[in-house]
Amino acid sequence: MKLRIFIFFIIFTFFSSMFLYPQEIGPWERVDPGSGFGSGSNRAIFAMAVYRDHLYVSASWNSYSAPGFEIWRFDGSTWIRVATGGIGDSTNICVWSMGVFNDRLYIGTVYSRVYVYDEANTIPWTQVNTDGFGDANNYSVDVMAIYNNRLYAGTYNDYSGGEIFEYDGSGWTLVHDGMLFYSSGVRCMAVYNGFLYAGFHTYYGYGEVYRYDNTPLMWTQVGNQGLDSSNWNPSIRTMTVFNGLLYAGVGSYYWGTQVFSFDGLSWTPVSDYGFNIGSYATHDLEVYAGRLFASLEGRYTTPLGVSIHEYIGGSTWNQVNVLGFGDSNNTQCHDLAVYRNKLYAGTSNSNGCQVWRASYRYPVTAVVSGGNGTVSPASQLVDLGDDGIININPAPGYRINSIVDNNAEQTICNPYCCYDVRDNHNVVVSFALAGYPPTIQLSAVRRTEQAWIVKKDYGEITISITEHPSDPMPVARYVLYRIDGGSMTQLAEFTTAGSHSYNDMFIDEGVTCSYQVKALDAAGTVVAQSEIATI
C-alpha cells in the first residue's frame, strides 16, 4: 500500500509539475555560420542590435593583432556580412556597442569612434564623430542608449573618467564630463521613470549609478559603494527595466556578481553572490517573453562556461542553458538580444564566437468535453509567437458544438488555431449531434432526344436540396444514384445545396429506371436521402 502511495505521489508530482510550471525555454539552437563567422580572429560578440527586422551582430577580438571587426546581419535563416576589416581600418579591432536611432544603426568602436549605417540606402559606413570625441583618452564607446529622442554614447576612459555625449542627428554635446566625478568608464545605461541612468566602472573603487534628467552636466548619484558595500563591486555592468523596476548587474572581485533591483529609492539584492556558481560578473540583463534573463561570466566558474539564468522571483534564478552551451570555451555572453520572438545569445570563445538562440515554448493542450469526437494533438509545445494548430474530428453524426480557449468561447473552425502564442493555452472542444438534415426532393421524367434520324430516351432528373436555415447538418456531398435491380450506380456528385439537374443518357426505351439522392457527411455516412423516383 505504501509503495502504491509512493508511486502515485511520484506520478502526481510529475504531471502536476508539467501544468504548474508549464512554460519552458529551449532547446538552445546554434545559428552562426561557423565559429567566429568563419574567422578565428572573431573571438567575441560585444554587441547585438535589431535594426529593420534584422539582427546585427558584431564579431571582433579585443587584440591589436586582430584584423578589424566584422558586422554580420541575420534574417532568421541567412547571414550576410555587412562590414569587414574594421571598415577598412584594421585599427578598428572592436565594436563595443550598438544603437538604433532615427532608423539608422550606430556602432561604437575603439578610439571612441561612432559610425552610422543606413540599411535602406546602403550608404557606406560613415563616421559621425571625431576620434575619442576629441579626447584621445576616450578609449572606446562602450554603451549607447536612446533618451528623449537623442542618442547617448558613453565612453571608457580610465585616465580622465568616462564621458557621455548626446547626439541629435547632426552634432554631439557633452552631457557628462569625466571630471565631474571619477570613474574608469560608463558601462551601461537605461531609461527608467523619465531619467537616464548610467552605471559606471571604477578601477580600484566601487561601481556607481547616476541619473540624468536632461539638464546637461547635472547628474545625481543614486547608487554607490557598488550597491553593496560588503562586497567589492567595481563595476555596474548592465541595467534594464523589468516589471516597473530598474535592475542592475554588477561585477565583483570578492564574492561574485549580484543583481539588484531599484524602485527609485533604494537598491535590493535579488540574487545570491555569484549565483552560487562563482561567477564574478553579470554581463547582460534582457527582458524576453515577460521574463528577466541574465548572462553570467563563465571564465572562473567551475566548470568553465557561460550561463544564462531566468529570474523566478525573490533571489531565485534558474539556469536555462547547459554551461557554455556545451563548449567550455564559450566563457562569456556580453549581449543578449530579442529578435523575432526568440532570445539570442552571442558568446566569446577563444576558438571563435558563436550565436545561440532559444524560444519560450508554451504548452497548448486540447481536450474533448463529453466525448463524440477527438482532437489532435492533445498536447504540443509551441514557440513564442508561433501558431498552435489543433485538428478536430467529430464522430460520425456529430458536429463541433463549441471551442473554448482559456475559458473564452471561440468562433468554430476546424482546424482551430491558437495564433501568435504568447501564453499557455487550454482548449476544450465539445461536440453535439449534427443539426437538422437537409430536405432532398427528386423528380425524374423520361424524355426522348431526337437528332435527325437517331432518337434516344433519357432520364431528366431534377434535384432540389434545402438546408435547415439556422442549424444545418454538415453535409460533405450529395450523390445521385441510379438503381438497377439490386445495384446502385453513382451518376453525379454535388457539394452544395440548391437546385441541380442531371440527364441520364444510359437508359433504354421501355426499361424502368429508379433514382435516389443521398447526403453524406465527411466520414461517408448517409445523413439524409430523397425518395426513390422511377421512370
Partner: protein, 188 residues
C-alpha cells in the same frame, strides 16, 4: 434491295440511251456544282441548321439539239448538336441522280436548261451514341440559266428541289429540299 434494283435498271437504261444517241449527239459536258440546300426535314434543320452547302458533279450527254441525259453525284456532310441535350451529331448523304433535260437558247451567250431525274440517296447519322444508316429513292427538279463563257466553257446558276422520304424506326425523314447554286462546266 428493291431500291438498288430500280437504280440499276435506270443506269442500264441511261447507258443504252447514250449509246444509241451517240451518232447524233453534240459534245458531252461535265460540270462542277456548289449548292445550298434548304432542308425540307424539320428535325434535320433543328440539328444541322437551315442551310447546308455541299459540292456536286454532273455529266450530260446530248440526245438531240435540245434534249440531254444527265448523271450526277452530290455529297453532304454536316455536324451539329441535338436540340435539348446539345449532344454532338453528324450526318452524311451520298446522292446519285439520273435523268433527262431540255436546253434552249435565249441569246447568243445565254441559254436555259430544265431537267428532272430520279435520285438515290444514301444517308447516315451518328448521334447520342448510336449510328443509323439507310437509303431512299426520290426525284429532283432543276432549272438553270446557262452562260457561254467562250470556247467550250460555260457557267450556270440553278434552282431546284429534291424530294425523298423514308421511314426509319417510326421516324419519317425527308432528305432533300429546295436548293440553289452555281456551276462551272466544259463541253468536249
Amino acid at each position: 434491295m428493291k431500291k438498288m434494283t430500280i437504280m440499276l435498271f435506270c443506269l442500264i437504261l441511261a447507258g443504252s440511251m447514250m449509246f444509241g444517241a451517240e451518232a447524233k449527239t453534240k459534245k458531252p459536258m461535265v460540270q462542277l456544282n456548289g449548292s445550298f440546300l434548304f432542308p425540307a426535314d424539320g428535325n434535320y434543320k433543328d440539328v444541322y441548321g437551315g442551310t447546308v452547302f455541299y459540292p456536286g458533279l454532273q455529266a450530260g450527254f446530248c440526245l438531240s439539239e435540245n434534249f440531254f441525259l444527265w448523271l450526277g453525284y452530290d455529297y453532304l456532310s454536316k455536324s451539329g448538336t441535338t436540340p435539348v441535350l446539345e449532344e454532338e451529331a453528324k450526318s452524311t448523304q451520298h446522292i446519285l441522280g439520273l435523268g433527262c433535260g431540255y436546253q434552249g437558247d435565249i441569246s447568243d451567250k445565254l441559254g436555259f436548261r430544265a431537267q428532272a431525274g430520279i435520285l438515290y440517296i444514301s444517308y447516315k447519322e451518328e448521334a447520342l451514341g448510336e449510328e443509323v444508316s439507310d437509303s431512299a429513292i426520290g426525284f429532283g427538279l432543276e432549272a438553270s440559266l446557262v452562260l457561254d463563257l467562250g470556247g467550250d466553257f460555260f457557267g450556270l446558276v440553278f434552282l431546284g428541289y429534291d424530294y425523298a422520304s423514308d421511314d426509319v424506326e417510326g421516324v419519317t425523314i425527308k432528305p432533300g429540299g429546295f436548293k440553289t447554286g452555281l456551276g462551272l462546266g466544259v463541253r468536249f
